[in-house]
Each structure stands twice: as structure tokens, then as C-alpha cells.
Symmetry: C2
Amino acid sequence: MGFKTIDYENDKLKIIDQRRLPGKFIIIECNRLKDVYNSIKTLAVRGAPAIGVFAAYGVCVGLKGTKTSDREKFFLHLNKIVEYLKESRPTAVNLFWALDRMKAIACKNKDKSTIQIKKILIKEAKCIHKEDEMMCKAIGINGARLIRSGDKILTHCNAGALATAGSGTALSVIYRAKQEGKRIAVYADETRPLLQGARLTAWELNKRKIDVTLICDNMAGSLMKQGLIDKIVVGADRIAANGDAANKIGTYGLAVLAKEHKIPFYVAAPSSTFDFTLKTGKDIPIEEREPREVRRFAGVDTAPKAIKVRNPAFDVTPSRLITAIITEKSVFKKPYGRSLEKVKG
Amino acid sequence: MGFKTIDYENDKLKIIDQRRLPGKFIIIECNRLKDVYNSIKTLAVRGAPAIGVFAAYGVCVGLKGTKTSDREKFFLHLNKIVEYLKESRPTAVNLFWALDRMKAIACKNKDKSTIQIKKILIKEAKCIHKEDEMMCKAIGINGARLIRSGDKILTHCNAGALATAGSGTALSVIYRAKQEGKRIAVYADETRPLLQGARLTAWELNKRKIDVTLICDNMAGSLMKQGLIDKIVVGADRIAANGDAANKIGTYGLAVLAKEHKIPFYVAAPSSTFDFTLKTGKDIPIEEREPREVRRFAGVDTAPKAIKVRNPAFDVTPSRLITAIITEKSVFKKPYGRSLEKVKG
């Protein structure tokens, strides 16, 4: 990709500070557990898969200073780290998935020395990282089959290389289609309030020489009506057992518009995004973020300070509006019924 | 209202500079025709009805320096002024309506002296201004009948006092309902790219002590799905003979979402907004504004500079999605057929 969203070398965890893109390309090093927590909380690193990989490494960062050889103390500490990091963002299930996986591998090796367990945890985090790269590639391959040369594709937020440790989810489909020689044009919603579409998606598509046009979120309907959108591809932060998908706020509105215009609406996400403990999307907790993200724009106040604000970071798209869910394993088409359970295997 | 959007006293045309709200409340004086043109073009004054009133006064400003008593020269000059101002914005039909009305009254009095015609034109502009105030009031009264106590109303862009010379169109309905003792809560879309909802609607509703909550444009669908919106009321910049209505970009998307959620969708606009020369909305010209409005904000780049942008200022909502059109004369309900022709009377 020409950049590494997440990098872990010589016990050093580094990320691109996505809050500063596209104006500045800054790498930050997370040396303390608090840095890891804040990087997730303040969106220096974002995107469900990337958060998972980053949190796994975050466990290693949190354990770095732990010199104890007492296993009980070690596991108490590990537990605290995991619970603390789980607090950083409530919606992306990949965060919990990765943290639980780290905890599980430690438990499985609980009879080994704490030094050995720490090594195993680093290995596991690297494994999650590697799997994420492979997952992105596989999603690209699976999804590209749905794309035709000449397609004009709308995407929302950033489900690209910056949202994963690989080439992305929704954008991986686009990268792969391009690689296969298909002509693709992309419309990127700017994605208020934090402008991940304008700042990140436009930036990475431009870097990869994909034909990209930026629009405001409220222009998507008009473009669809004019026949300028052939397909919509977005990512997801959590998918319930029935296929209802939580993704960046605004995704649901696009899905309704897609239905009105008979445009295929695809969700691209790794199997780690599925949460089979939730029957439907109604049970997905939606993060409400700070009012000032809405009240200000690019550091400038845009509304009277006293004004009330709603700022849900995500919405839930019911599975009936999702034409297909593209995973690294296969493409699931609606109606989903119990078919989605196959991603477990 | 506590403020005058447009003021003409002692031959001086003054407006609130809406580009600076809500941070700064600045009155600008337009002494030259070029000031009038630029004020419309750069949105110092905006909102279809306000543009009409302002342009009528603008004709008077343009004629101020004309000392000629030669009627032919006078009319040539008047014609130039009218054609020049018509170039300022292509979509709002009230602009053309007001300018044509000014020209017509001059033509009707073409045998009078140029000094007299100038006086008649000032009188006509003041008459358009006064009519606009009355129109706003009447729209409020007609529209408030559709509003129940307890309603949560979504609005888009600014169709308020700042968009007219009176109390607004869509917001006049809300002000009137409140005045009648109804409990009303308003959700205001921020309305990218120029944030008229955040900057202007939130500001004026707050000033009038209406319960207002600001949201990003892409949140509207999620709120509707949660049952938080009972009604949608917006303005219009041009309405075709069949009821198709052009309004701020994003309006169409809201209308589709309203249909999906079975929420009444109302357009409030004066009869001067109707353009019976256009059979349907397909014929309404849509202004495409500068890319930098989307790419930057308040001097801050929000996307890579090289990125392509679409920036249509308006979209067209088909009449089948509009529950009713609220005018100063009466409320028209769909299906419209030829019923809208009654606004001519």
C-alpha cells in the first residue's frame, strides 16, 4: 500500500495518526497502555479490523513492564489490560474478538512461565495481524467477482487499508477489481462528522491511482437518482446473527436510497465482525460521541455553542437491505436465514 | 424576530452577512450593483424568498447613480441591471420572479419621468418586501394546522427568517405552531457543504427559544428509524407545474427516507416559487458550485487538494414524495394533478 497502518517491530507499536491525515503524515509510537487506549478512543487508529489488530498488540504493550513471574499476578494484570482496552470503543466487535483471543491463548498456556506466555502473546498478535492481511486479500478476491468493468461505486467512511492491517475490506474489493483490469470509478462520501471519507478514503484511493470523486453525504441520493451509482460497498463494525450490520452513521440512509433506486448494496467484512451472541441488530450497542465533533468543523465552531447535539457514531442497516455480505470465506446473499453461521467454520 | 435579514431605509440596502453567522453578527451595506450581485453569489444573502426581495432592492441600488432623463437610455440600463442580477444564481426562481416584476412595473409606467419611475421601483421593491412578510405569516398559519403538540420535526438547510424578509417558510410553520402553544422539538440537519442548518437554523431557532437539536445530514435516517421524527418540513427554491420541488441538496434523500418510514414530508414555499413554465422537475437547472466548498472549510483543507469533487447545490424531490405543499394561499395535498395552478390566482 505504500504505508503501514499498524506496525510492530522490536517491541515497538507504531501507527499512522489518522486524525492528522491528509494534511500531515505522522507516525506515532504507543509505549504505554494508556497511549493504546487513547489512540483507539480518539480515532488515531480506527476501522473495526485495524482496532482488533492494534488492541492485540496493545495487550503486549500493556504487559511490557510486567516483570512478575507469579502467574496469578500476571493473569490478574492481563485481565485488567483486556478489560481496560474493551472500554475504548463499544461498537466494533473485532476489538472484543481480538482481546478475547489474546486472553484465550494465554489461558491455554497458563502452565508456562510468564516470560514464555508474553512471547506467545506477541506471536498471537502477529498472527492476528497476518490473518488480517490475508483476510483483506480474500475479501478483495471474493468481492471483485461482483464488480463489472465500468462500475461507478459509492463508498462511505473508510473501509480501506487505513481501517485494517491489510488492503481494507470494502476498498480491497475495489483495489482487487482494478488489479484485475476492471475500469472503476469511486464516489466517496465525506462522512461527517469526522470526515473519514474526505480525509482517509479520498487520500488512499488517490494514492493508489483509483478514479475518486468526493461528495458530501447528502449528495448520494441525488447521484443515485441521476443513475451515476451502479453499486454501493461499505464495511461493518458488527454484524448480528441475522445479518443486520452496524457501520458508520449514514450507512443505513444509503441502504434505503439503494433500495429506492434498485442499486446493489454490499457489506464487506471479515468473519471476526460477526457477533452470533446477538440475534438482531437491535442488540448492537451504538457509541454516542462528543457533541463538539458535530458542533465544530475542522477545528472551527459551526453552530452556536449552546446548541444540543446528537452524535451517534454508527447506525444499523437491517439485513433485508443488504444485497450480499462479502467475507474472506465467501459471499453470502440475502435472504440470509441461518446461512451466515457458515462463517464460524 | 430580533433581527432584520434585509433592510432598506433612506436609499440604503443593508443585510446580515450570513456567511459570518453564527460566530459574528455583521451588517453589510450594498451601495453598488456589484455588491448586490456578489452578496447573492457568495451567499451573504440566501434563501429563495430573501433573494427575491433583495434583488428587487438591488435594482434600485443599480439605478441610484443613473441621472439620465432619457427614457430609452434608462430602460436599456434597467434591462442590463436585471439581466446581470439574473446571472447571480440559477436555481431560485423567486430571483427571476422579483426581477421580472420590477421590470414589468417600470414598463407599465414607461411614459412617466425617469425620476418618477425610480420612485415607483423603490415602492414596488418595498411592496415585494411587505408581501414577503405577509406571505411568511400566512404560510405559518396554514402550515401550523398540520402540526400537533409533541411533534418532533426535522428540517434541512435554512428556510427561516434568514431565508426570507419575514419569519421564514418552513420555520414560520414551527414558529406559528409554538405561538399557538404547541410543544415542538426540532432536529436541524447541519446541511453540508455550507452548513446553513448548523450556522443559521440552529442560530435562529435558539434565538427564538425553540427546542433544537443539531445533527449531521447522515444521521437523519437513523433518527427516523428510531421513531424520533414525526414530520419533515423544508423550503423550496423552485417548484415545477407538477409539484416536483428543487431545494437544498440532501432534501431528496430525506424525502426517500420519509417514504420508507411513513413520515409526512412537507414543502413550505410562497407562490412565487412556482414555475409553471416547467412541466416537471427535470427541467429545473441545478447550480453546481465551486469544488473548494466541499474540499475545504474555514481555510482548512479536509481532503487531498487534487481530489475531484461534485458540488450540486440543489436536488429535485419528485412530487410523489411530497405529502403536501404549504403556500401562503392554501395547503395542497398530493396527488397534485393540476390543482397547483390555483396558486396563480
